[in-house]
């Protein structure tokens, strides 16, 4: 039977039923985590250095600010994934030569960048009601084998909650 042929009362009842059905799922909408993630600064630079005197080049501190709400029972995770190796034209520096330390621990942890598998930077459970910050220091293993150039890549930070 075409909808337009229904009596007005029946159509109204159907509309209300549909709305009620939607409201049945409303609690799930309220439970959907609300996440906020900010990375400052947006760019870091590893300065040129003598590998003998500076075997590990530290970049300026990166501040990670995050907030997790409506996540009463679930876990949350901040992960890092490089878009690729450090490249300068045809020259490359494997991204695995970049490691990081982070604080506070927990929830933050140290790790090694990867371009294939997201690496855990921080994790926890439940809510983080107030915006909270962590500090990440990236370090590049220096080497005489790196060819001259200006290399670059990008790293994506992802905050996830179920």
């Amino acid at each position: 039977m075409h909808l337009m042929t229904l009596p007005r009362l029946h159509r109204a009842v159907l509309a209300l039923a549909a709305c009620a059905l939607g409201l049945m799922f409303a609690p799930e909408a309220a439970a959907q985590p609300t996440l906020r993630l900010t990375i400052v600064p947006a760019t870091i630079t590893f300065a040129a250095a003598d590998p003998d005197t500076t075997p590990s080049i530290a970049a300026p501190n990166v501040t990670v600010s995050y907030r997790v709400r409506n996540n009463v029972t679930g876990n949350w995770l901040i992960s890092l994934l490089a878009s690729g190796d450090l490249t300068a034209g045809a020259a490359t520096i494997p991204i695995t030569n970049v490691t990081w330390t982070a604080s506070p621990t927990p929830p933050f942890q140290a790790g090694t960048l990867s371009r294939t598998l997201a690496q855990t930077l921080a994790s926890g459970s439940g809510n983080v009601q107030n915006t909270t910050t962590g500090t990440v220091v990236f370090r590049l293993a220096n080497s005489w084998t790196y060819n001259v150039g200006t290399y670059s890549t990008s790293v994506v930070f992802t905050l996830t909650a179920p």
Partner: protein, 167 residues
């Protein structure tokens, strides 16, 4: 038409809620990383002096340096595809007052990847080692003087300079 809109809104609300109930919530941020690698060269010699002791030319036609092989560590950063080179040139012949032993009477053998044997010159820098792209090399250079009855008695000296170039 009014009722149809209500019904449509009801289904739309349901669809929206159902979609939010599936999958995880995510928030992302991005960081750009830059590395500057500059040209650089570093050279280390195990000895700053080599000495050739007095010897009978018949029994010792070639006199090895008393210090033994000179160990050379050369490190350089250069552009992709460029050649790093280590050269050696003498300031002059071996001199003792007005007496002279041609510097070309000193030769060397070498060991280590990228290192090569050669003969000293005071006119043209001679290649001791070379390689392509950035990297470090370690090798040895063993000097020897061709002995001769024609050399006048005396203490002969000269200097030589190594140059490591990473273009």
């Amino acid at each position: 038409m009014t009722d149809i809109r209500r019904l449509t809104l009801g289904f739309a609300a349901f669809a929206l809620v159902a979609t939010q109930g599936l999958g995880a919530a995510t928030a992302t941020g991005s960081l750009s990383a830059t590395v500057t690698v500059s040209a650089m060269a570093k050279l280390t010699l195990s000895s700053a002096t080599v000495t050739f002791p007095n010897a009978d030319p018949d029994s010792s036609p070639s006199i090895a340096a008393a210090e033994g092989p000179v160990t050379i560590t050369a490190k350089g950063k250069t552009s992709t595809g460029a050649t790093i080179s280590l050269t050696l040139v003498a300031a002059d012949d071996l001199l003792s007052g007005s007496d002279r032993i041609p510097i070309s009477n000193i030769t060397w053998t070498a060991s280590g990847a990228g290192f090569a044997a050669g003969t000293m010159s005071r006119a043209v820098a001679q290649t001791v080692a070379s390689w392509t792209n950035s990297g470090n090399r370690t090798g040895t250079q063993s000097f020897a003087l061709a002995n001769s009855w024609s050399y006048a008695a005396g203490n002969y000296t000269t200097t030589a300079q190594y140059t490591l170039t990473a273009p």
